[in-house]
Symmetry: C2
Subunit: 319 residues, 2 copies
């Protein structure tokens, strides 16, 4: 029932001296404005190697391109979202309908986190593709600021490299279970496991959470990864579900429904989630508008990271 979420290469644990090489190459290339050939001469490697080092650095998030605009994105839409839905903050990335949304929102979420997280913070993470992508971009910065991770649900271990760059200080506390298990009894037992309880308790103390938003359709990531069947989803839809967070389905007003599946999920309780002061939801796409609207109405999240088209539709369909 549980599968890996991340098939593509996860955040690569570098060789230690490769990091050094990337760092120096990046410094010379970007800050000193040298050409790749000149950098190659200084490092004593071939030009193409420099090109690859830089590429690797950018892919992995080691080299971050930060846009320091007073409003990175669409300022007006951000403000409108904040006031229309009473949010704490919002990020809106410019639209590009033909480009895949997940990496775009993931990057925006990563950039948001890197801006907002302070040294020694604890970041709680949910389940989902967008969260996974965001973490891939943001996680190289965590050891530096001694940011620790804690999971809000089971099933996230698949996309967080617990080894990787994580040093002795920074740490990742993951619930070592699937997101959903096959029976209420098993879920209950797992939730009572000491380590699982420990992680769940810790998650409730985080200052910032990043969560994904699931849609109620057979295209849902939950279905794709085998945690739900299409049949179940159809049933939930008839019961009024418009979306899910952390495996909990809610209706258009953001009220959590009373469903059997909720008792099969190994995750923080929704009441505890609400105690996390900054709950950022990262989601975009017109098919997710209903889900996002419910989420915001129910105040399940108070920060939204989305794209222009989605933001406009959210505002049109209004509160």
């Amino acid at each position: 029932m549980s599968q890996t979420l991340q098939d593509t290469e996860t955040a690569s644990p570098f060789e230690p001296d490769e990091v050094e090489q990337i760092t120096r190459a990046a410094w010379h290339y970007y800050n000193d404005g040298l050409t790749q050939n000149e950098v190659a001469d200084m490092l004593g490697v071939s030009r193409i190697k420099v090109s690859r080092l830089l590429e690797k650095g950018r892919q992995s998030g080691l080299i971050e391109l930060r846009i320091n605009a007073p409003h990175a994105g669409c300022l007006t839409l951000q403000k409108q979202l904040i006031s229309a839905f009473g949010l704490v903050d919002a990020r809106v990335v410019p639209s590009a309908s033909e480009l895949p949304v997940v990496p775009r929102i993931g990057r925006a979420a990563a950039s948001f986190l890197m801006q907002k997280l302070e040294p020694n913070d604890l970041l709680a993470i949910g389940w989902g593709e967008t969260v996974a992508t965001a973490l891939r971009y943001a996680s190289p910065t965590f050891p530096q600021n001694n940011v620790s991770l804690v999971s809000l649900t089971g099933g996230v271990s698949a996309y967080v490299s617990t080894t990787g760059l994580y040093g002795p200080q920074s740490n990742a506390h993951l619930i070592p279970t699937p997101l959903r298990v096959s029976s209420q009894e098993l879920a209950e037992m797992l939730r009572l496991e000491p380590y699982v309880r420990y992680v769940l308790d810790m998650a409730a103390t985080a200052r910032m959470a990043l969560i994904g938003v699931g849609v109620v359709s057979s295209a849902a990531t939950l279905v794709r990864y085998g945690y739900c069947t299409s049949t179940e989803i159809e049933l939930f839809a008839r019961r009024g579900a418009v979306g899910d967070i952390l495996g909990y389905f809610y209706d258009a007003q953001g009220e959590i429904l009373d469903l059997d599946i909720h008792r099969h999920v190994v995750a923080i309780r929704v009441e505890d989630l609400r105690h996390i002061p900054n709950r950022a939801a990262a989601a975009a796409g017109l098919q997710k508008v209903d889900a996002i609207l419910g989420l915001l109405r129910g105040r399940l999240a108070n920060i939204l990271i989305t794209d222009q088209a989605t933001a406009e539709e959210l505002l049109r369909r209004g509160k």
Copy 2:
């Protein structure tokens, strides 16, 4: 006696919608990985225009390239510096003897500040080319985090654009006098001016200061900009001066000398400077090694931003 320090263009005050254009172009180009041609199509402008927007964004610091290595620079040297001189922090940029040092150290200092400054912080700044360069790169990020500036000395107004991107919240409090004036009496009077006193008092409350380090030679920036004559410098050297900060000359042990010029300077008192918990000195170059050594021995600064060659020499000449 006072001259402008910064002849080149200062941080440009953009058109508001130009910032928007730069932001979107940067997003599409760097985050979405589109080519300049594709970005041009999306924004409805010519390709070369996109190229220029990006260039402008990078120049101005609006687009920041951040290297998220656990150790951006030379980790080993940084650690050695910290332990050898009892520093709070250090940054070492890789060496490149043929490149001009000031912009390189300036960038490193800017990057350090952007990493360390927290929202609503107050940053105190000294006088000097390196400080000016660092500010040019870092200042576009200040309005975003509501970071304010306060000057530690006179003479800085030349290189801080008080208008620029500064909005209603962020602010720059600069001492509106030259660094040094021609008589003790005048300096005294200026120091007693209400606004000057206000700024000096405020500076003493800053959590972070960025200061430059002057050398004692006829090539010193102080001489170049007419605040001192070569003759004076020679005199100071005979009295044992190895460097200066904020116009105060000190000896090899970092003890401030008793010189007439110090009574002509409009600047915070050294005792008050020491109350600022984080005092970052940005300086590099072998001709500055003596000055830096004195500075560190006297604990005038407790953070050092320098380059590899300088760091190695500092460690060799040791504490």
